[in-house]
Amino acid sequence: MTTEEKNINITLKVWRQKSPDVKGRLETIEARDISTDMSFLEMLDTINEGLIIQSKEPIEFDNDCREGICGMCGAVVDGIPHGPESAMTLCQLHMRKFKNEDIIFVEPWRARAFPIIKDLIVDRSALDKIIQSGGFVSIAAGGAPDANSIPISQDIAEKAMDAAACIGCGACVAACPNASAMLFVSAKISQLALLPQGKPEAAQRAWNMVNTMDDCGFGNCTNEKECEAVCPKKISIVNIARMNREFFKSGFASQVL
């Protein structure tokens, strides 16, 4: 196939919003000759280069590593966070998944806890706040025992790694009808509760993180499972069950209350 044959024309309906407190709207942008080898973000780059040359303001969107690991990118594409492909961040989505003449809707994450900064960029600092309230092991550099002093079964280590794979992109919040951050919070609580290093603080951690999550304005979980469906790292809702267990345990643990 030659390059020409692989190019498509698409219509974007993209969210434009100048700043947090002004009203946004969908703008229609025609994009012609988009190579299907491009990633979704490269398609936006191409449109933006064209807008800049016409002295128009380009579409602002968050992104960085462009290899699916930093968690910075994300937009709701045709109603689905990170777009139609499963287990994939927006930067890894390729235009070969779209057809010529497709109309594509692109919107920012929408959640009360994620105010819009501009266009597709939202403020996700609430996720950092939750981690700051307990998503760590209280160990200062210098005092750690030998790394092999506590054996950890491969099965437990693998489960912890499954949970630790979360990239903190916030797609789970965007997908949830309640804008809940349960999948994100449970992944960190699970990782650290599974490992012996995290156990001493497990109760306090669950208590603090869940309460901070509520304070930040995230909704509750009603078992919609939308979060799991859109998670680019396939974080399982088993983690939410584990988090609930840890949270109830913390409720009974007198040292916390």
Partner: protein, 636 residues
């Protein structure tokens, strides 16, 4: 002559002697010091967390919306340590020696030895933080052998070790933010380092959300702002990686060391078209099980699986029987270029080689291979639309890491008192080539275990800085940054910063890339000068300076790369030898390997800024080797 301030005494005792005798800051006094850390990657995040744990007040800045996203996160393969858990003959000495040799004898013995010493503490620290490293069935930590090492000393967390280590550092950092010991400033970019009376006084940063310039005074500034690989336009670096902070420090008096040392990583997904915004690295751990080859006959257009063994040229295995596919990165990259230059390459562009897993899949089964590399195979499949379980991957080298950086002494202090540089932003540990799984080691070593000791004598000696944000120097820095931004917005030309960046990248790749020659380097210097003029007369930057404006950020970064690119070429031209990642075509052995000139170039080249119109001044730090014998590297 530059003094690296290497402690006296035998190599094995230098760091212990330093730690035992260095001046300390009284625990009660630490809270009186304000330390600014720019960057939240492995080096910056670890430093900010650890200094706060010790009691210092820390202000930490990053470009991304969260400190968890620094580009260290993308490191895949692993982190080295001299634990010798596998009982296969490793030791601190061996890790030191491999790293010095791997760097082609262009790094400091004392720094590298210290790095090997603290490597073991890093693993202990990370496990204690809850980093889920891979484990054996018995529950102990698993190790693998990694590019250029004959022992298994690499610890890993699937194919996402950098992510897990960074999230470990981020968790420690978050704990300190929660406790109020670190003030975190995300979405900020350094625009000026403020130096008054020969001491670093703080920074001016640009708030990327509203464009406002903000001054922050401090008693010391730590730059952990990463490398300059994006000068090539196409690299494996993240989009926002840039040389701005380091280059600004250079303009303020910090010497820039060995800018010509860049690492071209051998296993990346090849370039496919002009729309491409970045190149994707495939972890070099793949070389443990993948075999690199090209068809012997350039006209052989058969499906790779249909080409019999007799028609395949396993060039690494044939040329380097003892290391085979695991030769160091510079050697692997150069050989890929060489076979492609001879017309033996594959893919539509003919600039790619095969990395073939069929033998490993036959030997260990598809499941075993999927368990080790599943995420990498998926990533490849998604980008290339081709399944590497059935067809060999196609790979080609791409810019990945930069060994050069701000010159620092043994204490990681630059030539500006009170300004320190950590991690990839400094030049100190990897010489002319970095071995796999050493970048994570160095970043965390600098952050967790070196800077907490080496910053103390500076503070103990100099005390608090008496200059605050209301000092005219800060106002002036803000004013000049403001007019710089306004100037960029006012040019209104007909080229985007992106287009000019692409042109610069092509010049650097063609003439300051994997193989260089004097003629090309001189040409590159002239071409970059022209391009710089083009930029300042014809760039167009839309929007306003008081708004989120990525195009403006991009233009500011490209402006820095244009000046920096010239410095790279100047340094490469100075170094009339070949070493590690720097290959000048005039200096090769009969076998086509880099030929060093130890008599004349066994030194660090450190450059001092002398103004826009002038050549930078050259300073030399001689490299003294008392413990290793300099040999021609051989991986045969």
């Amino acid at each position: 002559m530059l003094d690296g301030k290497i402690p006296a005494g035998p190599l094995e005792q230098k760091w212990d002697t330093y730690r035992s005798t260095v001046k300390l800051v009284n625990p009660a006094n630490k809270r009186k010091y304000n330390i600014i850390v720019v960057g939240t990657g492995l080096a910056g995040g670890a430093a900010a967390a650890t200094l706060a744990e010790l009691g210092y007040n820390v202000k930490n800045f990053c470009i991304q919306d969260s400190p968890r996203r620094a580009h260290s996160i993308a490191a895949q393969g692993g982190i080295n340590a001299a634990k010798n858990y596998p009982n296969d003959g490793d030791s601190i000495w061996r890790l030191f020696h491999d790293t010095i040799k791997g760097g082609d004898y262009r790094s400091r013995e004392a720094n590298v030895y210290r790095l090997a010493q603290v490597s073991n503490n890093i693993i202990d620290q990370c496990v204690a933080q809850g980093v889920p490293f891979a484990r054996d069935y018995g529950g102990l930590l698993a190790n693998r052998s990694f590019g250029g090492a004959q022992v298994s000393r690499t610890f890993y967390a699937r194919g996402q070790t950098g992510q897990q280590l960074l999230l470990g550092a981020y968790s420690s950092l978050s704990r300190q933010i929660g406790m109020g010991k670190v003030q975190m400033f995300p979405r900020r970019e350094l625009v000026d380092l403020v130096v008054v009376d020969g001491r670093t006084r703080g920074v001016v940063v640009r708030n990327l959300v509203n464009g406002k310039l903000e001054s922050h005074a401090g008693d010391a500034v730590i730059l952990a702002t990463g490398g300059y690989g994006n000068v090539f336009f196409l690299s494996t670096n993240a989009v926002s990686c840039n040389v701005g902070a380091a280059f600004n420090a250079y303009k303020k008096g910090a010497y820039f060391a060995n800018p010509c040392y860049t690492q071209i990583h051998p296993t990346c997904i090849p370039v496919s078209g002009t729309h491409q915004s970045k190149l994707t690295l495939m972890s070099e751990s793949l070389r443990n099980d993948g075999r690199v080859w090209v068809p012997k006959d350039p006209s052989d257009k058969r499906n790779p699986a249909d080409i019999p063994e007799s028609g395949r040229y396993y060039y690494l295995e044939e040329k380097y029987p003892s290391f085979g596919n695991l030769v160091p990165r510079d050697v692997a990259s150069r050989n890929a270029k060489e076979v492609c230059d001879r017309g033996l390459g594959v893919s539509a562009t003919r600039y790619a080689v095969y990395l073939d897993f069929s033998d490993a899949i036959k030997r260990d089964g598809k499941d075993a291979i999927a368990k080790k590399y599943g995420n990498l195979f998926d990533m490849y499949h998604n980008i290339m639309d081709d399944n590497p379980y059935d067809t060999p991957m196609m790979i080609y080298p791409a810019t990945h890491y930069t060994m050069g950086g701000l010159w620092v002494d043994y204490e990681l202090q630059t030539t500006i008192p009170g300004c320190f540089a950590l991690g990839e932003a400094n030049f100190s540990d990897h010489g002319a080539n970095r071995l796999g799984a050493s970048a994570l080691m160095q970043g965390l070593a600098d952050g967790y275990f070196v800077i907490p000791y080496t910053i103390a004598p500076f503070l103990a000696k100099n005390g608090n800085s008496d200059i605050k944000e209301n000092h005219p120097a800060f106002k002036e820095a803000e004013k000049s940054a403001d007019s710089y931004v306004k100037k960029l917005l006012s040019i209104n030309g007909n080229q985007t910063a992106g287009e000019i960046h692409r042109k610069l990248g092509q010049i650097i790749w063609d003439y300051v890339g994997m193989a260089r020659n004097n003629k090309g380097l001189k040409k590159a210097i002239e071409m970059i000068k022209d391009l710089k003029e083009q930029f300042w007369s014809s760039v167009t930057v839309p929007g306003s300076d008081r708004d989120f404006n990525f195009a403006l950020q991009k233009a500011m970064r490209v402006a820095d790369f244009l000046e920096f690119g010239e410095l790279m070429a100047v340094d490469a031209l100075h170094r009339q030898e070949s070493c590690g990642g720097h290959l000048n075509e005039a200096f090769q052995t009969d076998e086509g390997e880099a030929r060093r000139d130890d008599e004349n170039y066994s030194h660090v080249a450190a450059w001092e800024y002398k103004g826009q119109e002038n050549e930078p001044a050259f300073h030399k730090e001689p490299l003294v080797f008392e413990n290793v014998e300099l040999t021609q590297r051989s991986y045969k």
